[in-house]
């Protein structure tokens, strides 16, 4: 059974239930029940119309749950007849679900969890495993999120930027456990791009594809990080790169630049270089200038300093770095790299060791420690 196909039907089915008048929280539970049932039943008895099957089962589950609820509260059972399906505006329903699950009243972690479940069709257990928290904790996070958005009207469009931030967060979490969050984020962004025509949605999709294309080359067999300049470019996924570049070019042609398009443009320039030495750093600096105008983020200025160091030499890079707040993560690592390029191996080794202490993940820490060790070993010779 194609689980990706099954999960891609989730937002349509949920949208239809809500459109029929089910409240979001109950409808979402009913759709989850239907998905679980599908996984159990479909392998032996595949339905002719998978979507119709899911709608029927989910609606039945919703009615059962509502009946049980109302009976408990000794109220009259009002929901009886199944309404006619009517013309289903599937794309609109999907879009509204994205907006609802990324609603600004939700914390980022709640929005991520709710999106993965209600739009992505993942189970609470899968989401919990991906984020390395107990299933009960994730269940609470999701049910609190559902309560938070329970009063939000479903028919109003939201801000695409909030949805993109949530999808970006999911993508950046990467890969842990048996759920590939990066691949899931790409699937959800693709689905969003099909539901709304927006250059920044396309920009984010291009950005994800271009980064994902390098994933296999980013880690050595022993688990250690391989920096961009040292990656085996033959292991990059050329199909994903081609698709990312095509999507990005179409978005840029519309002349409504945003931060994701600009970030994707940087990624595309890296992807375009046959060797690290042939990277067009001058153009990359220009894109970082655009990004700085769009976001004024210190992380952008830090990355810009690296690009300046490549385009105009390490001294220029260090001068650009001097204007960046030292508290920005990876500031010390960038300083170490630029000092090494400048030939000051003693300072570089000291800064790499210091950067290792400030690293936020193990792979990065090991990588920076190795860099310090490499320079110390060279100096000792």
């Amino acid at each position: 059974m194609d689980e990706a196909l099954l999960r891609s039907l989730t937002p349509h089915v949920l949208g239809i239930l809500v459109r029929r008048g089910a409240d979001f929280a109950a409808a979402e539970d009913a759709v989850q029940d239907a998905l679980v049932e599908a996984v159990r039943v479909w392998p032996d008895d595949p339905p002719r119309d998978p979507k119709g099957w899911l709608i029927t089962v989910a609606w039945r589950r919703f009615l059962d749950a509502t009946r049980a609820d109302t009976a408990r509260r000794r109220r009259e059972d009002r929901v009886e007849e199944e309404p006619a399906p009517g013309p289903a505006p599937a794309a609109d329903d999907t879009l509204r679900l994205y907006f609802l699950c990324a609603h600004p009243s939700l914390t980022p972690s709640s929005a991520v969890a709710l999106t993965l479940r209600a739009v992505g069709g993942l189970t609470t257990r899968q989401i919990a495993q991906a984020y390395l928290v107990p299933e009960a904790t994730m269940a609470q996070r999701i049910s609190r999120a559902k309560r938070t958005v329970s009063g939000v009207r479903f028919d109003r469009p939201g801000d695409v930027a909030t949805v993109l931030r949530v999808l970006y967060l999911v993508f950046n979490e990467g890969y842990s456990g048996d759920v590939d969050l990066a691949a899931e984020a790409i699937r959800l962004t693709r689905q969003l791009a099909a539901a709304i025509d927006h250059p920044e949605v396309a920009g984010l999709l291009a950005l994800m594809l271009l980064h994902h294309a390098r994933r296999a080359a980013r880690t050595a067999p022993d688990g250690s990080l391989v920096p961009l300049a040292e990656q085996d470019r033959g292991r990059w996924d050329t199909r994903a790169i081609a698709e990312g570049v095509e999507i990005l070019q179409a978005a840029l042609a519309r002349d409504r630049l945003g931060e994701f398009q600009a970030q994707a443009a940087v990624a595309a320039l890296h992807a375009d270089a046959p060797t690290a030495g042939e990277t067009d750093w001058v153009q990359i600096v220009e894109w970082y200038d655009e990004l700085a105008r769009l976001t004024d983020s210190p992380v952008v200025r830090l990355n810009r300093a690296v690009a300046v160091g490549e385009a105009d030499g390490p001294r220029a890079g260090l001068a650009a770095l001097a204007a960046v707040d030292e508290k920005v993560p990876r500031h010390t690592a960038v300083a170490a790299y630029l000092h090494e390029r400048d030939g000051d191996l003693t300072t570089a080794a000291r800064l790499y060791a210091e950067a290792a202490l400030r690293a936020s993940d193990l792979a990065e820490r090991d990588h920076l420690t190795r860099q310090a060790a490499r320079l110390n070993a060279r100096r000792a010779r």
């Binding site: 022993d222 688990g223 250690s224 080794a349 790499y352 060791a353 290792a356 202490l357 400030r358 690293a359 936020s360 193990l362 820490r365 090991d366 420690t369 190795r370 310090a372 060790a373 490499r374 110390n376 070993a377």
Partner: protein
């Protein structure tokens, strides 16, 4: 089965035999060390004895309640003299002897010159659940 915590210290434990900071090793020695740790955890997964393993960043602070309506008091970063935990592994094993044996193996991870670090690890039994049959 009983759970044990294997604690690794940045500082505060007695000095290891092969006590050289990691940035003074060669890159190959670092790779060998990382591989040893990964293999160790993978082997304990195979034997059904692995529970969890985490590493901690070196920076941190003490925090305490400072009364109603006031923000918590923080005291940090940690003083150089403070005992500092670097990370842990939790194992679930049949006996105390087995826990000691595994801690010894973990302490034998290679360091400078490819020689075992002989690092001191703190071994602490968990307080378990109360057994159903106690009399």
């Amino acid at each position: 089965m009983a759970k044990y915590l294997l604690l690794k210290h940045y500082r505060g434990a007695p000095a290891a035999v092969n006590d050289v900071p990691m940035d003074q090793w060669t890159p190959e020695e670092i790779s060998a060390h990382v591989q040893y740790m990964r293999d160790f955890a993978a082997r304990l997964e195979q034997t059904g004895e692995f529970v969890d393993s985490q590493a901690l960043a070196p920076e941190g602070a003490f925090v305490r309640y400072d009364g109603e309506g006031r923000p918590p008091v923080t005291d940090g970063p940690f003083a150089e003299t403070k005992d500092l935990i670097a990370g842990w592994m939790v194992i679930d094993v049949d006996s105390h002897e087995r826990a000691v044996e595994l801690a010894g193996e973990l302490s034998a991870a290679p360091g400078k010159g490819g020689e075992p670090i002989h690092e001191w690890l703190e071994l602490r039994p968990f307080l378990g659940e109360r057994h159903t049959i106690t009399e």
